[in-house]
């Protein structure tokens, strides 16, 4: 049995439409570009999604935190951490800390985290936070 060309086209169009609609329904996705605020006294804060920063249309935006464990050469290990970010205009913010509780919070961060941190006039981190949500995961 041969199918008429018009019917075949209709069938093909419906299939494409069905596939397209199922691809579009992929859950909530939210872009959270990096924001950096620098205050006059040297304090500031930054926030943004790792995913949005990584896949932004510029080559300057980033955000993240890191931990350094360095042998002090005397049998001990020095531990400190830092967070850093740059927005699309390349305004950069940094903070560092040796506060064990703040350092521990960095371990909660994930690839798809929304990260936020703030610092005082001395550049010491005052807060480090993250939120790991499905809507920060990039669409397929």
């Amino acid at each position: 049995m041969r199918m008429k060309p018009t019917r075949m086209k209709k069938g093909l169009a419906l299939t494409v439409l069905a596939l397209a609609s199922s691809a579009a329904l992929a859950g909530l996705v939210t872009d959270q570009p990096v924001t950096v605020t620098l205050n006059g006294d040297g304090s500031g804060n930054a926030a943004g999604s790792m995913t949005t920063a990584r896949f932004s249309k510029n080559n300057v935006e980033f955000i993240g935190c890191g931990v350094r464990r360095i042998d002090d050469g005397a049998g001990g290990v020095i531990l400190f951490a830092f967070c850093q970010a740059a927005d699309a205009a390349n305004v950069q913010g940094f903070c560092s800390t040796d506060n064990p509780n703040l350092i521990a919070s960095i371990g909660d961060q994930d690839d798809f985290s929304f990260i936020t941190f703030s610092w005082n006039a001395a550049g010491e981190c005052r807060s480090i936070g993250n939120s790991t949500q499905s809507f920060y995961i990039p669409p397929k």
């Binding site: 620098l38 040297g42 500031g44 890191g66 350094r68 360095i70 042998d71 002090d72 050469g73 020095i78 400190f80 830092f82 850093q84 950069q92 913010g93 940094f94 903070c95 560092s96 040796d98 509780n101 610092w119 001395a122 550049g123 010491e124």
Partner: protein, 149 residues
Amino acid sequence: MRTLITLSVLQTIGIAVLVLHALREEHHPVADAHPAQSPASTSASVEAPRIDEERLRSILREELAQEHNRPVAASSPAPAPPRNPSAAELQQRDLVAQQIEAYRSVGTITDAQMQELQADIAKLDAVSRKQMLSKLTRALNTGDIKGRL
């Protein structure tokens, strides 16, 4: 359902009794309860609860102030206060400070240089380490040094 209604009625009656009791107390202050006492003793008996109340208030204030000043992680033992750096340690700190100033004058620091600098900072005593990390971070925040931690 019936049990709930019964409980609700009992609760309402209880509240009403308490309100009545409180109103009655308000109309019969402590001084009225001792009419036979002399004015001096009356004022003393009124004064005594007031003093107790003041004392309680001051204790509460002290407790609240202590609670407010207490660090969040009160359960963990307080870290020992950092000692003052020795002359040799101060010399090391000055060397690191000079490095930071050198990077400031250049205006940039590479990732490898940053690693080295951080390793040097790690060798410092606790006080100096904090100072130099702060110095470096501030230089990055002001844009005097372009680079990443």
